[in-house]
Symmetry: C2
Subunit: 225 residues, 2 copies
């Protein structure tokens, strides 16, 4: 089939930006890269890039995530598409934003020549961000908070085995509120989303804790809180 040459008409560049979250040092953090090119030399931004002509937009997001973290198979969800005319000073760029959740353990941050650096930032203490990335990150944080409450996606933030204390702490950090330990445990058990590994976490100056793992590692709608 002959393809119409849409270049004669309206066109735009499609980019994708990925807001990558982890929980680290008792804080919800976002992965940002430091930009080199003007006019954002001093700014940080969520990792992003152009979608290739023969690449699905979803695949571009996966690729960008992989390039920065070396990870595949983590939670990655389309967030929102940012399409204001002037959002990019270089031209018309529409960005399909995604957000990803990764466990902190064993991530090697990979910088490239394109950027000056890669770094985690707590969402409560972000540096000035390029483009409309402040809005994008804020949007992602809201979505994450909402989804934590009614889905099982935390599984993507925790290591393979974890204690109930760690699970609860993860919720508390992201939701910014304290949960009752007994009620929390009751709820989690009643949902049947985790199971014992049979192992325990030793080596800490306190009572050893049972280690659990998620029964399913696929996104599901579940009323957690």
């Amino acid at each position: 089939m002959k393809k119409t040459d849409y270049r004669k008409y309206e066109f735009a560049v499609i980019a994708s930006d990925v807001v990558i979250f982890t929980v680290l040092e008792e804080k919800l953090q976002v992965l940002l890269i430091k930009m080199k090119k003007k006019p954002f030399e001093k700014c940080w931004a969520a990792p992003g890039g152009l979608v290739k002509p023969d690449e699905n937009v979803d695949d571009a997001a996966k690729r960008l995530l992989f390039e920065k973290t070396g990870l595949k198979d983590v939670y990655l969800e389309q967030l929102y598409t940012f399409g204001k005319v002037d959002r990019d000073p270089f031209g018309r760029v529409v960005s399909v934003a995604y957000f990803a959740l990764i466990p902190h353990s064993g991530i090697m941050l990979q910088t490239t020549e394109e950027y000056e650096g890669v770094q985690w930032f707590p969402v409560d203490a972000l540096p000035p961000l390029a483009y409309d990335h402040k809005e994008i990150v804020a949007n992602a944080v809201n979505r994450l908070r909402a989804k934590l409450e009614y889905t099982n996606i935390v599984y993507s933030l925790l290591p393979e085995a974890f204690t109930l204390g760690e699970l609860q702490k993860t919720y508390e950090i992201i939701l910014k509120r304290n949960l009752d330990k007994r009620n929390f445990r009751k709820k989690i058990f009643s949902l049947g989303i985790i199971k014992k590994t049979g192992k325990i976490r030793k080596g800490l100056p306190n009572r050893p804790a049972e280690l659990y793992t998620f029964v399913h590692k696929k996104p599901r709608v579940v009323e957690i809180l």
Copy 2:
């Protein structure tokens, strides 16, 4: 500032498709247009079109909605962006889909020369759809069902004044389940989202009903069901 000519690099066409819902004849219905151009001559599709170079993507959706329905100021929300490489046989087109809710009353469907016709279809009895519009509509229906339960967006489906029976019916039709009349009324009143107009609906062969109106006509998160 000199703008980079991104045409030298990757590019795509940005389109927007709008899934327009109403409740009509006791059914949730979608507005579809009948296509003329190949290879979709016999197919129906959600109204859509290209985003102009100097047009925000949001504004494009508003424009498309207005062109088909003559309506502004109704509920319109970005749904999802569909970006598979081969979703459009004519070339690389990324579509930012939206969904809209309109009251049925007083809408004049406006066809244009571009199409063979415009028509409402029940979501349970859709004709074959062009492109990936089957997926887009399904996606929109899911989103609508979910949002009805935790927001006040029904306001955009009903006329200025309505009875509690009509409100309940609207929920029942879309959610495809029956609600208990007394519990429903109790809940709605306790939320304080509607108020009496003081008028009543007469002329029907049954007891006249109080007419209500929404206190706020802005989207809000509210646990309705």
